[in-house]
């Protein structure tokens, strides 16, 4: 982070028009971070196939969002996708991985297992009930496993979160974690259509407006 982000706001804010400058710089920094989420190649079970592989492959193409540069080394990765079950034996290793990543780092927990333990919650002696018991999670993507489209939605949500989130005035400030769930009762075609609309407008998803309306509409139909 260094000199710029630590000392700049204190100097600039006092100058006339400095506040505006800081805010603009904030915007640019967050824009760059949101659009360049390099994931760590890491996956424990089923979700890894859908979320890390299928989402990155030709049809869904994570590269469109600049997130295809999967780094095998945690030092260079920005995004830890917890794809799959976390068990007790893995927990310390997962924590190490998270700690090895350089700030700013983001975590998406995909699939029921990484959210809550999922199908392995009862009568299992080793399954950890959610990745958030070990590391802070920014976005949850539900599903068992989630569709690649659902993961893209989660990624867009994270981008939105980053753009609205940290600032150089207050680094490392996190918003509350977000559940990036597509409305229930949707078919695959609807999901694709929905995503297409969202993608055409902007690279971000308006969580408050659009999403809430859809939820209501979807809920009332049922």
């Amino acid at each position: 982070m260094g000199l710029v982000t630590n000392n700049l706001p204190a100097i600039l804010d006092r100058l006339p028009g400095g506040g505006f400058c800081v805010t603009s710089i904030d915007g640019i920094i967050n824009w760059s971070r949101a659009n360049s989420l390099w994931p760590l190649t890491f996956g424990t079970s089923c979700c890894a196939i859908e979320v890390m592989m299928a989402a990155g492959a030709s049809r869904h193409d994570l590269a469109r969002f600049g997130a295809e540069v999967a780094r095998p080394s945690p030092r260079q990765a920005d995004l830890l996708v917890v794809a799959g079950t976390v068990v007790k034996r893995l927990a310390p290793r997962l924590k190490t991985l998270y700690e090895q990543m350089a700030e700013p780092r983001y975590v998406i927990a995909t699939g029921s297992c990484a959210i809550s333990g999922g199908p392995f919650i009862y009568n299992s002696y080793s399954t950890v009930r959610g990745a958030d018991q070990i590391i802070p999670v920014d976005v949850y993507v539900p599903g068992c496993p989630p569709r690649p489209e659902a993961f893209l939605y989660g990624l867009l949500t994270l981008q939105k979160l980053i753009k609205a989130g940290e600032s150089i005035r207050r680094p490392y400030i996190r918003r509350k974690p977000v559940l990036a769930a597509l409305p229930s009762g949707m078919t695959a075609d609807q999901i694709r259509a929905e995503l297409a609309v969202l993608l055409q407008r902007d690279s971000t998803v308006d969580l408050s407006g659009e999403y809430a309306q859809n939820m209501q509409a979807g809920g009332s139909k049922q």
Partner: protein, 386 residues
Amino acid sequence: MTIRPITLADRIAAGQKVESLLSTQEYFVNMGPQHPSTHGVLRLLVRLDGETVREVIPVVGYVHRGIEKMGEYLTYRKFIHLSDRLDYLSAITNNWVVAMAVEKAAGIEINDRIQTIRTLCAELQRIQSHQLWWGVFGMDLGAFTAFLYGFRDREVVTDIFEETTGARLTMNYIQPGGVMFDIHPDFVKNVKKFLAYFKPKLEEYETLVSGNVIVQARLRGVGILSPGAAVSIGTTGPVLRASGVAHDLRKSEAYGVYGKVQFDIPVGVKGDCWDRYWVRIEEMRQSIRIIEQLIDSIPEGKHMTIKPTAKIKLPEGLYYNQMETARGILGALIVSDGGEKPYRIHLRSPNFNNLWSVTAMAPGLRIADLVAILSSIDVVVPDIDR
């Protein structure tokens, strides 16, 4: 008596095996649990001498979820959901193993339509699994493009599955007494479309990867597994067949409708990485052959012979059923005490056994070869750990 340092000549005279003039030190490295080519959270403790692998110690358990313990608390029908999540790339076959074990034990009759649908789906799944393997294999060798080609074609099969089963990966489709849903009206049409699409693509695979000089150099003669070792380690599936042992349950037990169709078992000669590669490519061709023979003649009938809500109780006893998944033989061993839930359920997973063949193959080779070997036996880690 003069003291002089021990020379190379002395060591040769003493009958020692001399490999290097320099004194070197062996060291350990950890491959995994987070490593791009261990395909999940597998850890290999590797003892290295420079680039040369001296010993490989697989360390497993990083995704051990205790499925066998959970099975003791779940009814047979519920347990099938968990079987999806073992070897998620062979979800259909996993369902089928458990379902068939239950059917055999409870004496549930299955009609021909169900058997044909199950066989078709299992073969589609095998193709799908091998497509993914081919892509990942290419990626592990350093050819990233193969990965995307493999996945491009895999998506087509995934769509067919999604249409019929409602899921892309963990289908939970085969139930005791039948299949969850009848096949989609477009199933036959789409499968035919896929076969027409995929056959030329398979040739493209051959041009892109198989024929490449570097691939040949990387795979031929690397990681030889002798038939004796393969049997003793209990490897099954393509790994065993590549070592020259023609053991395929689809032929020898002819479950489903495999008895009615014509297909060959591809068998390797040397048991090296290339043979394992070739066996899988050839298996895709054979699977296409099987599907082509079945797709036009799916018999009429119901898709479920028992009520989906019927309680299933197995008579007291010990039951074992096994089946050929894309990676080898998956067995389900059920001990029943007469109740609705198994007293003990154990799954014999193909990957567990296949994994240990690395310890026999890798010593003496390079790190890059270890990656190729690991990829050529195609392990799925949650299936090892269960």
